[in-house]
């Protein structure tokens, strides 16, 4: 079986869930059986030269579907948002390494900000009741996936920048008292830095998911560079699409 491939995949449902965030369930019989939480798909946008890398939010291996929750960030994602139920997406997937999932009895902390939240859902479901999910959004209207995390049994804490929902302030204030055995995070760089500092201080394993402008998506063009450090503490250029998008936080040079 191919590690990844290009297929036309039918959209089973396409919903708008906030002002600028869309939620697609797509029938992917070739990808769902092999996809892992934290991996991504590279989706063709009609009329555009470059595909758009979209994280996989959920994998339903029974129904062979992948779920994509994505935000309009520019022209390309705007065009994708106009796709409707019944239409087909041209998808290159599954790409990247995905999260390293441990024994599901371990206590896991998930930290996400904004559109960094969707890739965490699949991994959080693995830990279910043992997962604590701390997520931050701009305001109440931007909150996504709260019910999905709850349905998976996770305990969820929400922060908003303007205090219109949950805790008023930064998501990084929500997990100060937590004592997890592993942390997973995805979101803006300042948030990731704070999570990394927390992991470092408490000696906890931590994986972070990054994004970067991307062309090929499979590690050939070297476009999506990220500065990493190896075990000898030497810096080198790695690539988000192939070496990531998930990295041990100690490897990433900010």
């Amino acid at each position: 079986m191919k590690k990844y491939d290009v297929k036309n995949c039918k959209i089973l449902s396409a919903k708008q869930i906030t002002e600028d965030i869309f939620d697609f369930i797509v029938y992917c019989p070739d990808f769902a059986p092999i996809a892992k939480p934290g991996q991504f798909a590279h989706i063709y946008v009609p009329g555009k030269t470059l595909r758009r890398p979209i994280s996989i939010c959920e994998i339903d291996k029974e129904n062979n579907t992948l779920r994509f929750v994505f935000q309009i960030r520019g022209d390309g994602t705007r065009i994708l948002s106009e796709f409707k139920e019944g239409m087909e997406l041209d998808i290159l997937a599954p790409l990247g390494n995905g999260f390293g999932l441990k024994d599901k009895e371990k206590k896991a902390l998930f930290v996400g900000g904004g559109i960094g939240v969707p890739p965490l859902l699949g991994a959080a479901k693995h830990y279910g009741e043992n997962a604590t999910v701390c997520v931050g959004f701009r305001n109440k209207g931007a909150v996504i996936l709260e019910e999905d995390f709850k349905n998976a049994g996770c305990s969820i804490k929400i922060a908003t920048d303007d205090g219109s929902y949950g805790y008023h302030g930064l998501v990084t204030k929500l997990f100060e008292e937590e004592k997890p055995e592993i942390i997973y995070a995805c979101g803006p760089t300042p948030m990731l830095k704070a999570v990394a500092a927390f992991a470092e201080k408490n000696g906890i394993e931590c994986e972070i998911s990054l994004e970067e402008r991307m062309a090929c998506g499979i590690g050939a063009c070297l476009g999506c560079a990220v500065k990493l450090r190896n075990e000898e503490n030497e810096e080198y250029m790695g690539h988000v699409c192939k070496d990531g998008p998930v990295f041990d936080y100690r490897k990433v040079v900010y």
Binding site: L92, R213, A215, C221, G223, A225
Partner: protein, 303 residues
């Protein structure tokens, strides 16, 4: 069934589609999708004498009908290529072109010498990379630079030698003639056109290198024009590239005078593009009673 084989400087390619340098790595990633033998050849990621880390991110920006890149020749160096990539490549039943770049003429000469004793099928001189501070395009924008590098490399290798030309010049035919006069067996054109995008909110260039090379369908008409001009001036074969995305583009580039083709940016839109283009070309030839690709080359009827 049409004969898709083409011959460039004594090297026979099973079809005219060659992966363009920098878009295909050393082939392994695309080999997950289809056997890379589907391509006539692979022009490998540009290599330098020593490993290069490349430019900081972002290295990529999209533009209308195309993209910009400034990867900055990130590569593991020539020795790593010979030891770790070439042995695998040689088992893939496709022609292997080593694309070499240097920051001074001696780098090129030394690499040519080193590669001369290896199994590569051809050397492509990259004197047209716009994204590195020293070397690259600085040798490719004057006839003196083209002549110096080409003649020096020629003295150091008996491998078929192709010179990849920059479109960022006043008259590309002068560069092509300089390459031909100094021992090039073929020329490939065009490399990317230098361009720029600016983020209007941050006021920063989208690409960290500030400028980058434009590629994709946007540059195709420029490439066709330059291939046509060069093919009319030189006797050595011209390998055409720049924005080829469909089989119709491929035919057009051949008609302009290309003997073979390279495909790059189209791979990012559709990784299967080379296979679709080869199929389309083959069908076109069958339909029009064309037996060999060489019958199309230069078949343009200019006004």
């Amino acid at each position: 069934m049409a004969d898709l084989r083409v011959n460039v400087a004594g090297v026979e390619f099973s079809n005219p589609l060659i992966a363009a340098s920098g878009t295909f790595g050393f082939g392994r990633e695309y080999n997950e999708l289809y056997p890379v033998s589907a391509l006539g050849g692979i022009s490998c990621k540009g290599i330098t004498l020593k490993e290069r880390p490349g430019n900081p991110a972002p290295r990529i920006a999209e533009s209308p009908a195309g993209m910009l890149n400034a990867v900055g020749l990130q590569n593991p160096g020539v020795e790593h290529f010979i030891k770790h990539d070439l042995p695998w490549l040689k088992e893939q039943n496709t022609k292997i072109i080593a694309n070499i770049a240097g920051s001074c003429p001696e780098d090129y000469f030394e690499m040519a010498k080193r590669l001369d004793s290896t199994d590569i099928d051809m050397i492509e001189l990259n004197i047209s990379c716009p994204n590195v501070k020293s070397g690259g395009v600085q040798f490719g924008t004057t006839t003196k630079g083209v002549s110096e590098i080409t003649s020096g490399v020629r003295k150091n290798t008996s491998k078929p030698l192709m010179v990849k030309l920059s479109p960022n010049v006043t008259d590309i035919t002068e560069m092509a003639l300089a390459a031909e006069a100094n021992g090039a067996d073929a020329v490939s054109l065009i490399n990317t056109l230098t361009g720029m995008r600016i983020d209007i909110n941050t006021r920063r260039p989208i690409i960290h290198n500030n400028t980058g090379g434009v590629s994709g369908p946007a540059v195709f008409p420029v490439a066709v024009r330059m291939v046509w001009q060069v093919a009319n001036k030189v006797k050595i074969p011209v390998v055409g590239l720049g924005g080829i995305a469909t089989w119709q583009d491929a035919v057009e580039m051949l008609l302009a005078g290309a003997t073979a083709l390279q495909i790059g940016t189209a791979l990012f839109t559709d990784p299967y593009a080379p296979i679709k283009i080869t199929e389309g070309l083959s069908n076109y030839m069958d339909k029009n009673g064309i037996k060999s690709v060489s019958e199309i080359t230069g078949g343009i009827k200019p006004w």
